[in-house]
Amino acid sequence: MPELFPLSPVHYVAAPLLAAFLLPLVAKLSRSFIKILPGLTFLYVLYVSAVLYPQALQAPIIEQIAGWAPPLGINLYYGPMAGLFASLFSALGFIVWLYSLTQMKQEPLDRFYILLMMLVAGATGMVLTGDIFNLFVFMEITAISAYSLTAFLREDDKAEAGFKYILIGSLASAFVLLGIAILYSYTGTLNLADLALNMDKVPLSVRVIVFGLFLVGFGIEAEIFPLNGWAPDAYSAAPAPVSALFAGITVKAALYALARVTILLFPFAGSMALISILGLVTLVISELAALHQKNLFRMLAYSSMGQVGLAIAALGLFTAEGVYAALFAMINHAIVKGMLFLTVFAMAGGSATLDGLNGMGRKKPILSLLFTLGAFAIIGLPPFSGFWSKLSVLTAMGQTGNYAMIAIVLATTIVEAAYFLRATGRLYLSEGNPAEGKTPLSAIAALAVLAAGILWIGFFPGSIDETLTAGAQDLLDTAKYTEGVLKD
């Protein structure tokens, strides 16, 4: 088998695609296949990760699709950073699948799983690809599955949230396409590495314009401040497993795209400072907004934007430590926020308010414990993963001498602590209505995996140190990237 099908990064996209096309067929044979097939796919993709990622840490794997050398064909770049993200996405996808096995009951289930798989596959493709137009295509795959999933539930206001998202999302895609058109018209190539070498053909003023277009385009997907009006609605409208994926996957993929494009094509100081400032603004505004939310999903959505803002602020430093910290924050956020969304849904259902948490500590002790764990991890209390990620962010900011940034981050941490501790307090200190229903084992198992991840990173932060360092170097070392892609 390994000889017949040599593993390559393209399996990350091809396997989910094959499964998605197969799903309507096997659904006719037996309904139970609908649920099993996505899990098998995610398992296979995880296996691919397990084989390929150690190799990528040694040397990046570069695959040329259809056998054409890069300026002509599309290539996949599977370096340490892309590998990290691809593995993370597949793991999250698997966990969300495990969770939705029992928690997701809304028909049509076959379509739900197809969209779920393609959301993950599209985001993975965005991370892997080395071609800017291909990036656009994968961004659209992710976005269209996200639009459909946002309006998947049938209750009121879901379609409106989806429509808002689709409006802003197609604005984003139009801007990215325009940026690609401008770049192509000046350089005549679409490959990212080739573009990076040919950027001197583009006048500086035009480069600024293109950077603005890409910033708006990817920033909309990455929830950067003035462009994130869709996010709270979409998060609270989508089914909870999907919200977990939005926070964990779509945002991360867009951020990766933004970072990769910025570092390769627009490596001037202003762009990086701008990104950093936008991140800080996002952080402050969304944490303050989260304080006022009654709906738990909206609260988590705003908190999610804040965390992304933190990661962007660290990313904008564009030092090795900064990128390291940003990566750490993104991984931490993907795991913890995913867990929080899933826990809240299991605990209080799709339209959870703060009051819905009252007295849950006694009725659903395991879920409450998990929520508390997640809340502490997000705030950044010491023994959990969040502490180390925040610490690394602060260290990176301190090293570049941005003490004002440190102050802002610390201040927002207090705000964050205020609303998360308030929610946690509701769990244990308030009396509430009796809640009925038991949480199925598969959901608990999915949550336990995430909790184990939080604790593992919390107690052994050194264990992911190597991967993060490699990822940060991979992102920053543009010369290695272009040489690797264009070597022949």
Binding site: F5, P6, S8, V10, V13, A14, L17, L18, A20, F21, L22, P24, L25, K28, E63, Q64, I65, A66, G67, W68, P71, L72, G73, I74, E107, P108, R111, I114, L115, M118, G122, G125, T129, F133, N134, V137, F138, E140, I141, I144, S145, Y147, S148, L149, F152, R154, A159, I182, S185, Y186, T187, G188, T189, L190, N198, S205, V206, I209, V210, G212
Partner: protein, 230 residues
């Protein structure tokens, strides 16, 4: 007020886009990659139509993504509109018998033309997407012309799945033969013949069936949510 603000924003965006394109000479040869495509397409891919060879071969991964986007749109449409039916009270006027007869007569012609377009995708300015759209047009005229016509969704989804699987398997076969994903494994043949260009016609035929089935499904889904049945 809102209009003024919008106009200001438009002026802003328009001005900067204009400055961005002011440096791009119109109608001059500024090809970099394009030249290589034009020069290598006939000897290396066997396809006569350069656009087709770019779409299916050089940048075939884009097309895989594109097919997926369309598939997702059909899937998402079904998910969003699941269970929605037109109400019996908004009954619609029946088509005239001339239109019904005409639709039945024209349907096979249009489908044949669609098939012609996507089979000759590597020779003429056609291709899978264009041909598939024509086939969906054929289904549209049945929807328009025949009273309470419904497409066979089971058949459409089987067609769609099989075509999609063909595309992915054609890609994976490249891997299985020790080459790259989507790489050509068939002989190139004589350029200009129908049976040439390796896997390009196979992929484009699959794409044609897939696009036709998907668009027909989309049209039928949209139509059945608004059309009242008695």
């Amino acid at each position: 007020m809102k209009k003024l603000l919008a106009a200001f924003l438009l002026g802003f965006i328009g001005y900067y886009l204009y400055t961005a394109f002011a440096g791009v000479p119109f109608g001059e040869n500024k090809m970099e990659v394009g030249k290589d495509y034009l020069e290598t397409t006939v000897p290396k891919t066997g396809a006569v139509n350069t656009v087709t060879s770019i779409v299916v071969n050089y940048r075939g991964f884009d097309t895989l993504g594109e097919v997926t986007v369309l598939f997702l749109a059909a899937t998402g449409l079904g998910a969003i509109l699941f269970g929605m039916k037109g109400k019996p009270e908004d009954k619609h006027r029946e088509p005239s018998s001339i239109l019904t007869t005409g639709a039945k007569a024209l349907f096979p012609i249009i489908v044949l033309l669609g098939a012609y377009i996507f089979i000759h995708g590597h020779l003429t300015p056609g291709g899978g997407f264009q041909g598939g759209t024509i086939i969906a047009t054929g289904v549209l005229i049945l929807i328009l012309g025949i009273k309470s016509f419904h497409a066979n969704h089971a058949l459409l989804s089987v067609m769609e799945s099989l075509a999609g699987i063909t595309f992915v398997v054609a890609g994976i076969l490249g891997l299985a033969f020790g080459k790259n994903f989507l790489e050509n494994i068939l002989p190139l043949g004589t350029p200009g013949q129908v049976l040439s260009a390796g896997i390009i016609p196979i992929i484009y035929i699959a794409v044609g069936f897939k696009v036709g089935a998907e668009l027909a499904g989309v049209l039928d889904t949209l139509m059945s949510t608004t059309r009242g049945e008695e």
